[in-house]
Symmetry: C2
Amino acid sequence: MDRLGTVAIIGVGLIGGSIGKAIRARKLADRVVGIGRDVSKLAEAVQWDVIDEGVTELELGVAKADVIVVCTPVTRIVDDVLSAAKYAPADVLITDAGSTKRRIVEALEDQPAGAACFVGAHPIAGSEKKGATYADAHLFDGRVCVLTPTKRTPEDRLERARKFWKTLGCRLIELDPSQHDEALALTSHLPHAVAAALAGSIPSNALPMAAGAYRDGTRVAGSDASLWTGIFRANRQELLGAVQAFQQTLDEFKSALTDNDEARLLSWWQCAKDRRAEFEPLNQRASSQD
Amino acid sequence: MDRLGTVAIIGVGLIGGSIGKAIRARKLADRVVGIGRDVSKLAEAVQWDVIDEGVTELELGVAKADVIVVCTPVTRIVDDVLSAAKYAPADVLITDAGSTKRRIVEALEDQPAGAACFVGAHPIAGSEKKGATYADAHLFDGRVCVLTPTKRTPEDRLERARKFWKTLGCRLIELDPSQHDEALALTSHLPHAVAAALAGSIPSNALPMAAGAYRDGTRVAGSDASLWTGIFRANRQELLGAVQAFQQTLDEFKSALTDNDEARLLSWWQCAKDRRAEFEPLNQRASSQD
């Protein structure tokens, strides 16, 4: 990939910060500009080699950008893309890192300014941690990034978006925005809701008797409340469907347990175990590149 | 603690093997005898420094034991303790590592041979891995071991059991067997059931889009089906109560999401997050001793 001139990152948190760090570590661009609202956090991000410079005014930050990556919460992405498109050079590529896609892509394609330069993206990586403090230049190594082009996505921008995310270390999958949202409702949004339901169900006085199954099963319940409320609401119908599928599976377990039916419990568990085993090679592939 | 003579471990899997390895690594006993049914697995355990010698005949293995640790599945513990008591020296201490306690303790206290020498124990450590291949001399470092003495437990055996589990690196908590089972239904059995329900609900074609939340949330679904079916059935009523509490919490989420109620979603998540945060210092305490 040809080295980029200026990359502007709007929202320098864990994801935006990790993108900045990856670009700087691999020298993929001349300059990484971080755009945020909190001056002291931007100053820290500069100090930690996450970005080259920080600005609070979006119009100044994007003025010379070749690529703009919008890494703000899903509730703000549409507005941020449109503001960025207004002040950026005409040939800019704007992409994002939002956990939901359908509404964002639809809203942006309704606006000529958005339709001209935007390619929806979702690098599937992250953690319950918040902020550029935890930025990691290798966060995306071997991880899947879903691109969600539509018939209206300009081919040249799509090609540039593919190169951009690939150079960050991602493996690309291209899906329709709705397919993305259905899949992620199951693989990410549901596991987050379930982790929080588990954390919320276990009383404090039992916690000294908790170990690995609790620790891992509730880890992501430590994630930011407003970030996840935004994601859940942006993918409400799909997530409700996923919750229902999960409730059904759990009801099968409950019914087998109520009946004290050893054979049904065994086969229920074995199905789950077999399905989980299908994930291992995919996970290995990602981890081997860490 | 005075060095022990012979420790016999019935069931040399992940837990039994890790106990053997810990004893041998710290030279806590003159000899560790592993008792199992599979000769080739016992031979491997000797090769890997997990046990000093392996025998398939329980009556021979326990003949000179000072301490016997029963590490078989919960469905077999009562029988194994009674057989061991029959062939062991009169002053033996028998303890176990079963994930449930009430029925086991009740059944053993009904028998004079069991009542005379048994102290129920549950070292809360483990993993989805199976077998002595994964034995780890540090598995118990800093982890909680729950002892479940009752009024009928002989005081001298209890004192020896405390010393034994402490020397392995455990922090001790003493609970009534029923209290143990209620707590573990919430902190361990429920998280296992939920992990398997999650793994069973997510279709294969979505798995390439799964990442950390899925990986950690479903990890223990890789555990052994028959082992966990046994645990679930041994703690059926308590687990059904825990599943119901969990379903209620998830229903609150579903209802808030159906209503698209931002404030309720935010406070629901924040409650779960705050509860999860209470676990962190407990987890740190265990991890710092890893």
